[in-house]
């Protein structure tokens, strides 16, 4: 069902944890849908020097969080903004169809954290407005 990469990132996730006084924090999803992702960013001179995550969700949700944080670590915020769920899926050697929404959530969690950072430094974050309810493939109405 899962690729070896997914299993590896689930069993040994990278960047689990919190960052005290983070420069950007983003949380997406809700418990009703079964997935919540929270990403913390430490940013210096527009470079993501540290990133941590906490995720409530299935194996794929944990693996995509791990991979998404890994992909933006050390990158500039301008590069991180361009992270897509597709890039996360590719880096994990694919995801089963019902789990694609986990990668969408990971992308949105990164964007939400970056939007929080933009707001803090007074930069326009309107391009980063993300869904704060469920992910795209979920039927539930946003709350």
């Amino acid at each position: 069902m899962y690729s070896e990469k997914v299993m590896d990132h689930f069993a040994n996730p990278h960047n689990v944890g919190e960052i005290e006084n983070a420069d950007g924090v983003g949380e997406v999803g809700n418990a009703k849908c079964g997935d919540i992702m929270k990403i913390y960013l430490k940013i210096k001179d527009d470079i993501i020097v540290d990133v941590k995550f906490k995720t409530f969700g299935c194996g794929a949700a944990i693996a995509t969080s791990s991979m998404a944080t890994e992909l933006i670590k050390g990158k500039s915020v301008n590069e991180a903004v361009k992270l897509t769920n597709k890039a996360v899926i590719e880096a994990l050697d694919g995801l089963p169809a019902p789990k694609i929404h986990c990668s969408v959530l990971a992308e949105e969690a990164v964007k939400a954290a970056l939007a929080d950072y933009y707001k803090k430094i007074g930069r326009d974050a309107s391009d980063l407005m993300v869904c704060e309810g469920c992910c795209g493939s979920c039927d539930h109405h946003h709350e």
């Binding site: 299993m7 689930f10 069993a11 996730p13 689990v16 919190e18 949380e27 418990a31 009703k32 849908c33 079964g34 997935d35 919540i36 992702m37 929270k38 995550f53 906490k54 995720t55 409530f56 969700g57 299935c58 194996g59 794929a60 949700a61 944990i62 169809a97 019902p98 929404h101 493939s137 979920c138 039927d139």
Partner: protein, 396 residues
Amino acid sequence: MSDKEKKLIYVDNAATTKVSKSVIEAMLPYMETYYGNPSSQLYSLGREAKAALEKARQGVAELLGCDANEIIFTSGGTEADNWAIKGTAYATKGRHIITSKIEHHAILHTLDALIKQGFEVTYLDVYDNGIVRPEDLEKAIREDTILITVMYANNEIGTIQPIKALAEIARKHKIPFFTDAVQAVGKLPINVKELGVDMLSLSGHKIHAPKGIGALYIRKGVRLSNLIEGGGQERGKRSGTENVAGVIALEQALREAVADLTDKDKVGKLRDYLADKLIKIPYSRINGDIKNRLDENLNMSFEFIEGEGLIMLLDMNGICASTGSACSTSSLEPSHVLRALGLPHEICHGSLRISLSADNTFEEMDYIAEKVTWAVNRLRMMSPLYERKLKEERSK
């Protein structure tokens, strides 16, 4: 125990069971030696197969307390469930069916198909303990009710329904009563006459026989249209060449399960031993009635985590268990059974089902308890919900 030892602990017996050695031995001759088609009556090989088939039918009937001609073999529990429901619906005037909210999908999805054809279904509540109340059934009955179908024991939470009381109400109103007993047969003493049911389904692979064999008990006099047409086997009621080896296996497995019922305490003790250990995990709960449930079943929820991850971590440690989590399926909706108990979504998501067999040991329970505790902690350390909870507690 290291990963390299590759010890496998199987505690998902509600999903399926290991075929027992004696069952394999009993069925082998009907694949290797007596492989004739029971319909081939002109030569001995066919007659031998037929004789074995009918002897096994007699055996199953005796074990369930009915006549041999009231037992029809099917491809499994799902077919028997489909047949009992559709067969009654198509044979009867009226369009109302009563069931419970926690039936297996073999029942619920069959009813969905009938709803599309104009039938109406009432779903009885199971309250927070997972058990139907007979007075609710009484109230749900209508003039045009043609069938009441309530499962004997639930596959997820193991709760046992008051079938005798429900069947009595059905009889009083002259409405056929069917029970899906796939999880109950071999685990509870069953006599269909004493129970008073009109139909009862069972499955071989839940009781240490192979997959692909089941049966439907149809009380003499119950009207049922056929689901499967063909060569007229099973007295014209269920066509298809009989699965002789499967039938032999089913009879043997049922015989063994019924014999084991007497010293069944063991599996209940194993379950209670494990439950006592797991309930010590903070923010955990047992789902479904504690007393009125199968000895084999333990269903727990662990707050702030999601079940799929838990099952994956257990699998990495050689433990095969199950979850009612939505993420284990493609639906994204958590278990309808846990939802029916009134549990909030986030608690449904973090559920674990352990279903034991007599093959399990106390040593295994210790190992499972250790690994579940470890896995729950590990997932909680990653969970933003747990983080929030800890902060709430600290600020108190």
